[in-house]
């Protein structure tokens, strides 16, 4: 009952309502801009959440995520360019429907299917968070170390084809996390006499650099003549589907929602995998599979339901264990830590107001998505049609203005620009970004819990194997790394076999 009252308090607090509405609005606009992924949209808004209450800040960040996942479908349907990776599956039938003069219908289907899936995903999140939080009582420093180690082992699953590259980026992330004052002794480390580095390197600056600045560098690397992606005469009026229509499409809706909920918590899977999987499954189970690829309504509903269901279920590992499974969740985790909130097993017992308030905020964000999704269609189309150089300049200014708002320090600008260069080089050499972020975010937790555990046992490492929870988590981590290494070896052998 307390949970419900916390959620209702959030629902009736004007600043929270405004945060959710503002977040969804920015998310839809950001998601609609091709190249601006949900994680970049979240990173851009992160500096402006500093002066907000932790709850308002977290609701704003998750609302951006929710809005961006829907926003990505607008250019996917109208200009055959997915605004986000997860909207790529929507292009197939969404754009065909638009060519048939049914773009408004496709947008309506995408919006309603996404809202329903988001709300169902939220219900799952509410029911799953509490049982997972029950294990909180068993968490001691060794278990926390093992949990952080498990989080790092996910790097193996997120290495996008090269385990060594992923591990290298994870180690560099941890190295950056070591900068600043030592958590136990207070000794300065790698500060080079610079007072601005005594507090360490804020995750936010690295995130802004490797996501936003690197993306802008990529954009300007090929000059644009200023015409942008203009598609004239595509102003479409959205047509929401009726209840009967949604009942007809219930199979695709259920498949999309179900797969989205399952895929969301899996590290590295996310909305894109869920969308393509559900498109495939919806086609397999459809009564009219021949329509897929030729303007099928189910072909729009299934992927859109999937990528919106992911927005809720992806929160489960982030909130319950402090383990982010995607770039967007890593930024949310950074946002939580910046506001002094340690996600993990104790979150629900320590801050029930925040967890249940967030659930209330997510409910609101999904409703706002339905309302704002209809209202901002025309501005979105206008924005997508702006010449790219103007957009690049505006986004660069948002980044630069946002950095200064955090510490009012010019030094932070240099960190962001340096992180931008690193992010650009990583992208060109195909190094994955997420392990770097995971390393920075989990660095403090892994070091402090490791050293505290050893303090308790006078340096005896057996403590990590004596605690059953710690042992179980370490075994899971070993399994994840082992499977990734096995997959890597198999991948490496394949071409040799072919040559042989």
């Amino acid at each position: 009952m307390d949970g419900l009252s916390y959620a209702l308090t959030a629902l009736t607090t004007p600043t929270i309502v405004l945060s959710a509405a503002g977040g969804v609005l920015w998310g839809i606009l950001g998601g609609a801009l091709p190249g601006l992924s949900p994680s970049i949209a979240m990173a851009l808004v992160l500096p402006f959440t500093f002066d907000m209450s932790p709850l308002a800040a977290i609701i704003m960040l998750t609302s951006v995520y929710i809005g961006a996942e829907y926003g990505g479908s607008i250019p996917a349907i109208l200009i055959r360019t997915p605004g986000t990776n997860a909207a790529a599956a929507t292009v197939i039938d969404g754009y065909t429907l638009h060519q048939q003069g049914r773009g408004g219908e496709a947008l309506g289907l995408s919006l309603v299917a996404g809202t329903i899936a988001g709300l169902v995903g939220l219900i799952c999140l509410v029911f799953l968070t509490k049982p997972l939080a029950m294990v909180a009582l068993y968490f001691t420093p060794p278990a926390y170390f093992a949990l952080a180690f498990l989080g790092l082992s996910i790097i193996a699953a997120l290495s996008e084809g090269s385990l060594i590259k992923g591990l290298i980026m994870g180690v560099i992330g941890l190295m950056l996390a070591m900068v600043g004052t030592d958590p136990l002794s207070g000794a300065p480390r790698f500060t080079f006499g610079e007072p601005d580095l005594l507090g360490g390197i804020d995750y936010i600056f690295v995130m802004l650099g490797v996501f936003a600045v690197a993306e802008l560098m990529n954009k300007v690397s090929t000059p644009d003549d200023g015409e942008g992606s203009v598609i004239k005469n595509t102003i479409t009026r959205m047509r929401l589907p009726g209840l009967r229509k949604m009942w007809e499409l219930r199979r695709a809706q259920t498949i999309g929602t179900g797969l989205g909920i399952i895929e969301g918590p899996i590290p590295g899977a996310g909305g894109t995998v869920a969308a393509f999987l559900s498109y495939n499954e919806a086609k397999r189970w459809s009564k009219t599979p021949e329509k897929f690829g030729h303007g099928s309504e189910e072909g729009v509903v299934a992927p859109e339901a999937a990528n919106n269901a992911v927005t809720s279920s992806a929160l489960i590992p982030t909130l319950s264990f402090g383990i982010p499974g995607s770039n967007s969740m890593a930024i949310l985790l950074g946002g939580l830590l910046i506001h002094g909130i340690q996600p993990g097993p104790m979150l629900l017992s320590n801050r029930p107001d925040l967890v249940y308030g967030l659930f209330g905020g997510l409910f609101m964000a999904n409703i706002f998505m339905l309302i704002l999704g209809m209202l901002v269609l025309t501005p979105c189309i206008w924005l997508v049609n702006r010449p790219k150089p103007y957009l690049t300049a505006c986004i660069m200014m948002v980044v630069l203005s946002g950095i200064y708002s955090i510490n009012q320090s010019l030094f932070d600008f240099w960190i962001v620009l340096a992180a931008g260069v690193v992010g650009y080089v990583m992208r060109r050499l195909e190094f994955p970004v997420l392990p770097l972020i995971l390393g920075i975010v989990l660095g403090y937790m892994i070091e402090s819990s490791y050293r505290r555990s050893l303090l308790l046992t006078n340096g005896d490492h057996i403590v990590f194997l004596q605690n059953p929870l710690s042992l179980g988590l370490l075994c899971c981590a070993a399994l994840i790394i082992g499977l990734a290494a096995y997959a890597e070896i198999r991948r490496a052998r394949k071409p040799q076999d072919m040559h042989g």
């Binding site: 290298i168 180690v171 030592d182 790698f190 300007v220 490791y450």
Partner: protein, 163 residues
């Protein structure tokens, strides 16, 4: 692939430098058995091993590629991709650097105008009255949003001294 090999060597050098940096960390009894330098040294070793493994992997891949297609000069010249593109990308960082240097002197509004105009020009727009209007109006809008509405104390530059 040659660029990847060079990067792996640079990563090894970074690991060595990081170890030397970790060695400079002052030791305290409060730090416990592991010490403030323990984790950084462990990470330096990890990066060293990984970068060597990466260099070896890249070396063998290069050799295998050479054996598979000995006369493929086109591929070789493709690496490292397109230096002109990379130089353009770095140009944005240079613009950002100028912005940081000018901001305390010119103030937020004027610096923003220059930055908006500079980046849109650099990103491909031809100089025009429309671009100038975009930079000026954009600078004012950003000033109003960040300084007036959000109340962020952004540098005001030399302007207060004039009035």
């Amino acid at each position: 692939m040659r660029a990847t090999f060079i990067v792996s060597c640079l990563l090894f050098l970074l690991a060595v430098a990081y170890w030397l940096g970790a060695d400079q960390i002052s030791v305290s009894r409060l730090a416990g058995g592991v010490g403030a330098d323990g984790m950084p040294k462990l990470l330096a070793v990890a990066l060293g091993v990984l970068s060597l493994a990466f260099a070896t992997q890249t070396f063998f891949q290069m050799r295998a590629k050479k054996l598979a297609a000995p006369a493929d000069p086109v591929k070789e010249s493709d690496e490292p991709a397109n230096w002109h593109q990379h130089a353009r990308a770095m140009g944005l960082i240079v613009l950002g650097g100028f912005y940081i240097l000018l901001l305390p002197h010119l103030g937020y509004m004027l610096s923003s105008m220059l930055m908006l105009g500079g980046v849109s020009f650099y990103a491909g727009l031809k100089p025009s009255l429309r671009m100038l209007a975009f930079a000026v109006i954009g600078g004012v809008v950003y000033y109003l949003i960040f300084t007036r509405i959000l109340g962020i104390p952004l540098p005001s530059g030399f302007w207060p001294r004039l009035f």
